[in-house]
Amino acid sequence: MRTAVIVFPASNCDRDARDALAKVTGREPIMVWHRETELPDVDFVVIPGGFSYGDYLRSGAIAARSEIMADVKTKVEKGLPVAGFCNGFQVLTEAGILPGALMRNRSLKYICKPQPLTITNTKTRFTSGFNGQKEVVFPIAHHDGNYFADKKTIDRLEKNGQVVFRYNGNPNGSINDIAGITNEAGNVLGMMPHPERAVDPLHGGTDGLALFKSVLGALQ
C-alpha cells in the first residue's frame, strides 16, 4: 500500500503518522507539503494531528483552505481513502469533507489521556480488521474535540452508520459521545483519538494497528 501524510505548518503528529504507516505497510509514506497542488499517486492519505497554523482562528480552519486540500477533496470524490486524526479531523470538517464542527472541550481545558472507545460500526474499511473487538483504547490529546452538528445531520449520521467510534465516558461534551465518523461514501474517516499513538507496546497498547491494517485489508 502506498500512503501519504500531509504536512501543514505546525502539524506535529506527522512523524507519528509516518511511523505508524511505515510499520503497517512496510513502506515509508510520502510526506506531502501543504503547498503542493496535487497528491502523489497513493492508496491512502493521512491528515495528521497537531496544531496546524497554531490552531489560530479555529482549529484546522486555515489548513483546510490550503492548496493541497483542494486536490484532497477532488480525489475523495473519486473514492480515495483518507483519514484525519485529531487536528486532521478538524481540517476535514473545516474543509467540508466531513459534516459538523469540533468546538472547544466542555471543560475548556486541553485533555490528554488514554480513552476507552466503542467501535460502533465494525463494517467500515477502517474498522473491519478489528476482528470483532468492540472496545479499544486510544490516547486523546486535544482542546477542541467537542463534536457538534445540527440535529438533522446527527440523525443522518446515526442512521447511516457513519458514527464509527464513540467515547466510553464522554471527555469533551461531544454530541452522542461521537469520537469518530465517516463520510457518507465511507472512504473518509475523521476521529479525535489518536490510533497512530497506539501501535507500539511502549505506547501502552497496540489497538491502533488494526485500524491501519483494516485499510490495508480493504485495499487488497
Binding site: 482562528l57 479555529r58 468546538m103 472547544r104 466542555r106 457538534f148 445540527d150
Partner: protein, 80 residues
C-alpha cells in the same frame, strides 16, 4: 479602510465558553448574570477605497475563512 467582523455562534449551538463565563461570574457574586455568549471580533486593515466593494470582499472573506458557517454567523461593519 477598516472592517470589523463579528463572528458568533448561531443560536442553538451550545457555547461552552459562554456557559463557563456565566458560571464563573455568578460564582464571583455577579448574580445578575443570566447567561453569556462569547464570540470573536476580527479587525481588518484594508487597502480598499470603496466601502461597498470592501464590504462585498469582506463578506467573501467571511464565507471562505473567517466564519465557519456550520456553527457561526457573522456581521460586518465598515469604517472609513
Amino acid at each position: 479602510m477598516k472592517a470589523i467582523v463579528y463572528v458568533g455562534l448561531k443560536p442553538g449551538v451550545l457555547d461552552p465558553q459562554g456557559r463557563t463565563i456565566a458560571g464563573s461570574l455568578q460564582n464571583l457574586g455577579f448574580d445578575e448574570v443570566k447567561s453569556a455568549r462569547q464570540g470573536k471580533v476580527i479587525e481588518l486593515d484594508l487597502k480598499s477605497e470603496n466601502a461597498e466593494a470592501a464590504e462585498a470582499r469582506v463578506t467573501e472573506m467571511c464565507e471562505k475563512l473567517l466564519a465557519n458557517t456550520v456553527i457561526e454567523s457573522y456581521r460586518i461593519e465598515i469604517e472609513a
